[in-house]
Amino acid sequence: MMAQPFFELWVYLAATPLARLTLTLVMYAAGWWCYVRTGMHPLANPVLIAVALIVAALVLTDTTYKTYFDGAQFVHFLLGPAVVGLAVPLAREWDSVRRLAVPIAGALAVGSAVALVSAVGIGYALGASPATLLSLAPKSVTAPIAMGIAEKLRGLPALAAVFAVTTGILGAALGKYVLDACRVRDWRARGFALGLAAHGIGTARAFQVNADAGAFAGLAFALHGLLAAILFPLGYWALRGAS
């Protein structure tokens, strides 16, 4: 008796973006709950937990990614204004940026070169395909910018976004251990490294740990995104022109 109205409700919900948007926020809330319950343990990353739960739910209900994204795009869309908003911490910190111009420029140049060369070099040495290598190149840059770069390089934008998100989760999860092992205690250096190597997810982690670290993470995240968005296409053109 009850099955028919429930079936109709399911058909209705499955056809609207509402269910997938709600799923995204509920699973993120579950991930956040786990993260807080473990005392913000770096390995209990809320993005990782949310992605795993959502993938499991989609596979169980036989929903395609395209259908899921119809609802989730409302969340994804906010990445655009969030990237524009990075100008605000950058402008707010401008005095300390100018004062620390040398360490910032040096760390930005060394860090972005190490991230790019080591990812592509290791991938190449272990036999990754060209499309995978091109999608690995921008992996330390935030997902929307990495997708734009991968598109220009003729890599796979969706794969580049996955690599960027994975890198962000890895950086947020492992950053504390790497920085402790390197004996870096300066919060500005710790934050800058997380924002550069692990973009927005590393920045979110840095803000949760220390306000100074968060500000410098946001700075590195913004500068790295800007630098990569300008240099990647120029470098690609130069290489293509030379060959």
């Binding site: 995204t24 926020l25 993120y28 809320p46 993005v47 949310a50 899921y68 969340v75 994804h76 655009g80 204004p81 969030a82 990237v83 524009v84 908003g85 990075l86 100008a87 605000v88 911490p89 402008a91 360490p103 040096g106 760390a107 930005l108 972005s112 991230a115 290791i122 991938g123 040495a125 272990l126 990754a128 395909s129 690995l136 997902a143 910018i145 220009k152 969706a158 996955v162 690599f163 998100v165 994975t166 962000g168 989760i169 950086g171 492992l174 920085l179 092992a181 390197c182 870096v184 500005r188 250096a189 800058f192 490294a193 190597a197 692990a198 927005g200 920045t203 800007l226 968005a229 296409p233």
Partner: protein
Amino acid sequence: MSPLLAGFTWLLLFQCAGEALVRLAGWPVPGPVAGMALLFFALLVRRSPPESLSVAADGLARHLSLLFVPAGVGVMLHVARVADEWLPIVVALTVSTVLAIAATALTFQWLARRQEGSESEQRG
């Protein structure tokens, strides 16, 4: 208009301006990045960000990790490729992230100490 709504409107306006600029000029830069640069220059001229923009930008920044969830679920689309090439992908992502964090933090700390050391020498 509430500060949050006003700030969010400004962010969208600058994103539109950024998109228009890169499309008209034919630059290979993502629109939001151009929007960020435009907003940054506008804020430098104005000296300090208005309250509304701070509210909207900080609100988005606090929940930044949520915004990456839909892109992360995209791993579903590439299960076959990731399964075929899991070794280079996992090793490249992990090792390069660890190296990038260490190299960035050590460079920053070394240069900041050198600079602050020479500044205190001058003062002393």
